[in-house]
């Protein structure tokens, strides 16, 4: 048998039918649903008198458009959308972790937490950051609302196979430098379209040494490199994370499953269409300075000068980004002063992320110049675990707000948003114009760097804390 990549294996296992032109009917094992991209899909089912093919494969949760502050009055328009999800789930027999459920949280945090995300699965959701689940040796990717309806109705998607790409993170990450820094630096190197048309496997010593939380951060950001999906081979770290979770197999079934999952890695000699090797051993904490995740620099660097860019289209993009961000070329990154700090999102809202931020914050105070510092845990479970460890007190005593789980200021659909011109140190995934609020300026960073920025009132080297 020819050597296969991890992606080849996942793909082969899920092809129901292959048309002559190479279009596959791909079976979907797990469908995650949230309130913003699903109402039109459920309406579509109703209009065509169709039912979900396998309602038991679907797990729904409201996360994008919900308040995170205690006792906050919910916007009535948002409330309608949250109510529509509850109504649709109940009408179609779909399990929902609703607003009153202690398991509620960001869809990409709760899937793994409850073992709804398993190795070897195909996993889709009407959300681009579905790539997160690839950390478990799964084929996971975001889809649009028409495809949400298609999966609901048929349990399948029409797909063309993507190209195989492998990113090898070699070396060991230095202290104070984490998964977020590695993946931001990678995007800086290959560009926001560097993974277009590819399923990207992350490999190498640095990935093998990562926790599942860190691996999820890396795969989460695969979409910011334009990849169709990101994924990581199954190893003991994966199995240890999954064992005992609510929806994970147990007993004899666990033994069968884990034997199967151990095959989920690229074979020696498997062919990749594109290979990138990236030594992370000298990497510094990363901070984005522009309006695309590819516009990124190390904490010790300065805002680049567009005049030094030879390509006129790129130069113009840089100039436009710096105007929007109100930054001057040559300004040291350490001199940039955020107005707000956001620690949260499907990229960095897990327990390990909160621990990393809390260890920087502990015993210190948020700088007076910071108008708002938010910590938004990724799920009800993360929140409870963090509180058991006393992390909420560390944050509160320093001057952070400790919120309820949700997507919050990552996309600013709820009340958590930047005012025009405000600058934010954010652990989220996108620094697009207006992403965190019209006119808002986003700098993407790791949880540790966000915490350090909150304390210092400017971007600071977490390694000096």
């Amino acid at each position: 048998m020819t050597a296969e990549t991890l992606y080849d294996k996942l793909w082969r296992r899920h092809v129901v039918h292959l048309a002559d032109d190479g279009t596959a009917l791909l079976y979907i094992d797990r469908h995650l649903v949230h309130e913003v991209t699903s109402p039109q899909a459920f309406d579509g089912l109703r209009e065509s008198a169709r039912k979900p093919w396998r309602a038991s494969s679907v797990l729904a949760v409201p996360d994008h458009n919900i308040p995170t502050a205690e006792n906050s009055a919910e916007d009535p328009v948002s409330q309608l959308q949250v109510a529509a999800l509850a109504k649709n789930c109940s009408a179609f027999g779909i399990t929902e972790f609703g607003m009153d459920d202690p398991r509620q949280g960001i869809v990409h945090v709760i899937g793994p937490e409850y073992g709804a995300t398993l190795p070897g699965m195909t996993i889709v959701c009407g959300d681009s950051h579905t790539s997160t689940h690839g950390a478990f040796g799964a084929l996971a990717f975001g889809i649009g609302t028409s495809e949400v309806e298609h999966v609901l109705a048929t349990q399948c998607l029409l797909q063309r196979k993507s190209k195989n790409m492998r990113v090898t993170f070699s070396g060991a990450l230095p202290p104070g430098v984490g998964a977020k820094d590695a993946v931001l630096a990678l995007i800086g190197k290959i560009g926001a379209a560097g993974g277009n048309g590819c399923a990207v496997e992350f490999a190498g010593a640095a990935v093998a040494a990562m926790s599942m939380e860190a691996r999820m951060t890396v795969c989460n950001m695969a979409i910011e490199a334009g990849a169709r999906a990101g994924m990581i081979a199954v190893d003991q770290v994966t199995l240890d994370y999954i064992k005992g979770r609510d929806y994970a197999p147990a007993g004899e079934m666990w033994e069968r499953a884990q034997a199967d999952w151990r095959e989920l890695h690229s074979d020696a000699g498997a062919a990749f269409d594109n290979e990138v090797e990236f030594d992370v051993s000298q990497l510094a904490p990363q901070v984005t300075w522009g309006t695309s995740p590819e516009m990124v620099a190390g904490i010790d660097a300065a805002v680049p000068d567009p005049a030094a860019e030879r390509d006129p289209a790129r130069r113009e993009n840089m100039e436009r980004a710096l105007r929007y961000m109100d930054l001057q070329p040559g300004t040291p990154i350490r001199e940039i002063k955020p107005d707000s700090v956001f620690i949260g999102s499907c990229t960095n809202s897990r327990l390990e992320d909160l621990r990393a931020a809390a260890s920087v914050v502990k015993g210190k105070k948020v700088a007076k110049s910071i108008k708002q510092a938010l910590v938004v845990p990724g799920s009800g479970l993360v929140k409870r675990q963090a509180e058991e460890e006393g992390l909420h007190r560390v944050f509160r005593e320093a001057g952070f707000e400790w919120r309820n789980p949700g997507c919050s200021m990552c996309l600013a659909m709820n009340a958590d948003r930047l005012a025009p011109g405000e600058r934010c140190a954010s652990t989220s995934n996108r620094n697009f114009e207006g992403r965190q609020g019209r006119g808002g300026r986003t700098h993407l960073v790791s949880p540790a760097v966000a915490a350090a920025a909150a304390i210092a009132g400017r971007f600071a080297d977490v390694r000096e804390f």
């Binding site: 009917l25 913003v36 039109q40 649009g144 028409s146 048929t154 399948c156």
Partner: protein
Amino acid sequence: MDAFTTLSGLVAPLDRANVDTDAIIPKQYLKSLKRTGFGAVLFDEWRYLDQGDLTSDHAKRRANPDFVLNDARYAGAKILLARRNFGCGSSREHAAWALRDYGFRCVIAPSFADIFFNNCMKNGMLPVALDDARVDALFAAVESQPGYALSVDLPSQKITAPDSEEIPFEIEAAQKHRLLNGLDDIALTLEHADLIRQYEDRRKKEAPWLFGRVA
């Protein structure tokens, strides 16, 4: 889905790379429960100087005179000319719905983000990828020739310029077939219902843990 066969129309140039779906339609409009009515808020933050939401009367908002689509010269454009990695970011299909509702049926760019590309196809819109040099030439032509229009012919996979130059483009056969006929993908897939059931029966034996109910 509406079929796409041929299209002739004015071309509007959007000269920036990495146009993301947050720029195509910002988040506050994603609170809608509908698929329609997003044309008025396409490129909202570039197009208007004031903030809008689902309850705004967009006709009364302040237009940004510097934004290309507010230039009377491009009124009624049906083809959008863009730069690399168009439609990157979020999976929101609202981006495709907004472009379509505004009147665009075709987007030409050097490259597209994967999810956006699929979303276009699901909505009777044709995304055409052409090489950088060709896109550069089209930008120069659109900007120098008021009223610059193109004719897109999907059956023959050709775009015809005003000087009769023909520009061939690629599209996968299956996608072309579905667009030309405006086919309902779900109905087509359900023609394979037996195959899907056979697949499930086999996988339930091989990997039963994939079929546990989440509850």
